[in-house]
Symmetry: C2
Subunit: 463 residues, 2 copies
């Protein structure tokens, strides 16, 4: 935080990187009194990512006043960093002059990221503001499928024929005009005569080697080529798995057409995780800056699915109305069995969903994992069966009721372990994101089995 | 995947980066027939991270045979990549000679990562295998708190006085012996005379600039300094937020003592997310390679907490035994209200927990977020109240029962939105990880409120 003014320092040690409430208040005060000089002074030390966070945290009215007052200082990188739900709103507030200046300074892959989710008229406005060459590059990137390596890559890269020496590469680098080079680059990509990438040379090695050394003799050991159609989640996986810093992207003929760098892969990894967490919780695409109506719309379908699940469970209960009317204790205890099963099922399914995402759960070990989950369910089932058997006995004074709840607990926890593993594996095999759909299925199974086992056993044993 | 043999190609397009079952079978067959030449040939094209995955996926017996047969080829990087639960087992199988050779080739930060979780005798065995200088470096790193920047950083770095020119820096780089430089580096850190880092110069800029250019004139705009005591999750946040590639680490006197690079930050980001997902699901620290007993132990406490929660809800139901005995439909419908509340609460809490983790939920917007969640709960509550009111009416033919379940639904979904936001915020303020504990609290609230509102209203309206 060395280049932030004292006023903007976070107030608590453990809140490094959080804009303090005082700083936010000072900025909003400058907006209130319409003091653009003061606003610029307060915003100047902030990184564009922090300005984006600030804009996300204040309300829509303050946001539009701030953006207007900040005016020409507004920078394209702030737009890149903004949450999508707010980006369109902010672009709507910017004057065309400010907008076109802001996007002209951006790298082409950042412009792609910026415009790909905009509405058509906003997308056109931004594309029109770009120089011709950049516009063509952006349009070409947009022709690749969403969430593919093609959208993620930058076209600016440094390549060298495989037969070059260190000296030739350095001379070439020095002779290339600044604007044809990427803003940051870490490797030179070696290519064969057909433009197939065959290795990376790091700049560090290049600088330290003798001019006559052949590039091919100092290339890195680890080298991964990314097909342009590859899903971005697989790209992020490759960077994380193989500790890549940058990787060449190739077209269908395996010719070099771009480069993906680790910072972009890290953003994807972050987004993929976020998506998984939200999907597991049934929140769809939620973000904190969405408004009430959007948030309601996002969450409603998941609650509707849950309602169907819950009604299915109720239909099971309804089959046992006679038993419940005779022994009301059944109604008191039955949610416990269902709830424990739901929890155990969620545990198993979360581990399975993550293992599928990290490619740790494969054909080679799926049976061992299923067996483990069932065994874990059995052991925990027996432990909690004993506990609940005793609770049932003490609470309602009926050993038979204790046996019934104990047996139902074991059954439901075993089923939870089985369903929690098998359901995500099957969903993945048939091409459905297991993070998205497993929860509803598993809960339905554990609710239905929980109520049926408990009430069914009760009918057999107690009536 | 260009440098993998055809035999090891994944079998399905969408399974890029997964070791195919055929490849695994071929490797295990080589182990079966004790053919170490064949094994080495099959393993040779695999990245250490893939070998680690392979070891995690096969069973313990095959694992130990494979490691023994692979023998001298075993490389320290495989150990780094292995899941902790298996790492100790594999180290136990390696001969002292193989182990010491394996760790001698590793960077000091990787050795730290490798040994920090080992048992004392294994840690000592590895430290003893290191050259003196490396051992001291590792021990010093281990003196920093776990999960701090000090554990993450590498000591090998390239620095230059702020007054140096490009030419001086290049000459210095060329004169430094290979083994004093980091294996990969992307920046030169500029320092003032008191060793305080003041900026980064990228190697790309360095190479393209004239020899007489001052380094200080070509330093990067974005620059973050990491305090050595900083929590690694904050380090990962800074890299992700500010798109850093490498960042200098400073001691308490703000002197440069190391560097953290983005690939290490990416690993931490990945681990933090994994931890959050597992904690939200009540799985503690689970991993796919844990055995049955460990897995059972990890999950048991969370199920125990859930049992207490479920019993609390049952105690609420028990207060209404008389009502349930009179109207059994209450027992049939009551789980629906509780389940919908639990789901809506999980949605709110997941969004809140993520927003706290990404520092998007702060003092500046907490009230607006709470208001939004409550409003979303209200709107969804009303929608599902209408649906369930109709279902209740059609199913049981009682308008009054319809009103009761509708009203209880609205109440519970509003409470779910409130509890789902307020509980994680409070837990965070008092220093408890909200991902860890929010779930149990929120579910208790929605269960208790759900049953109480539904059954209580039923008593008032229907009896």
């Amino acid at each position: 935080m060395s280049d932030q003014s004292a006023e903007l320092e976070p107030e608590r040690e453990d809140d490094a990187y959080v804009l303090g409430p005082k700083a936010v208040a000072a900025i909003l005060y400058a907006v209130d009194i319409d003091d653009s000089a003061k606003l610029t002074e307060l915003m100047e030390p902030l990184h564009p990512a922090d300005i984006a966070d600030l804009l996300e945290q204040i309300n829509a009215f303050d946001r539009s006043r701030l953006v207007r007052l900040y005016g020409r200082e507004f920078d394209g990188e702030i737009l890149s960093e903004l949450d999508e739900s707010i980006r369109e709103e902010v672009i709507g507030v910017l004057t065309p002059q400010v907008l076109s200046q802001a996007v002209r300074d951006m790298d082409s892959d950042d412009v792609v990221d910026l415009v790909e989710d905009l509405e058509d008229h906003q997308q056109e406005a931004i594309l029109d503001a770009l120089p011709d060459a950049d516009r063509v590059a952006v349009q070409q990137a947009l022709s690749y499928p969403e969430y593919s390596a093609g959208r993620l890559m930058q076209r600016e890269l440094v390549m060298a024929p495989e037969h070059w020496t260190v000296g030739q590469a350095i001379d070439h680098l020095r002779a290339t005009p600044e604007d044809e080079l990427p803003a940051q680059f870490y490797h030179i990509v070696l290519v064969d005569p057909r433009l197939h990438p065959i290795g990376n040379v790091t700049l560090g090695k290049l600088m330290r080697s003798k001019r006559e050394t052949r590039l091919i003799d100092i290339k890195e050991e680890t080298f991964q080529v990314i097909p342009v159609q590859q899903d971005e989640s697989d790209v992020a996986y490759a960077f994380n798995q193989y500790h890549l810093i940058s990787a060449p992207v190739v077209d269908d003929e395996e010719r070099l057409i771009g480069v993906i760098t680790i910072d972009d892969a890290m953003v994807v990894l972050d987004e993929e995780h976020e998506e998984d967490i939200l999907r597991l919780a049934g929140v769809g695409e939620g973000s904190l800056s969405d408004r009430v109506v959007e948030t309601t719309k996002q969450r409603l379908p998941w609650l509707a699915v849950n309602l169907v699940t819950a009604i299915a469970a109720s239909l099971v209960i309804a089959q046992f109305e006679v038993a419940i009317a005779q022994i009301v204790a059944l109604a008191v205890l039955m949610p416990i069995v269902a709830s424990m099963g739901g929890n155990a099922g969620t545990q198993s399914l979360t581990v399975a969903v993550r293992a599928i995402a990290t490619k740790d759960l494969t054909g080679a070990n799926v049976w061992r994992v299923i067996r483990r989950e069932v065994l874990v369910g059995l052991i925990n089932g027996v432990i909690f069966a004993v506990v609940m058997g005793i609770v049932g006995l003490l609470w309602f004074g009926s050993p038979a009721l204790g046996y019934v709840i104990a047996a139902a607990m074991v059954i439901n926890l075993v089923v939870a372990g089985l369903a929690g593993t098998v359901i995500p594996v099957i969903l993945d095999r048939v091409g459905v994101d297991p993070a998205l759909a497993s929860g509803a299925f598993v809960t339905t199974v554990t609710d239905v089995v929980g109520f049926f086992a408990f009430l069914g056993l009760a009918v057999v044993v107690l009536l």
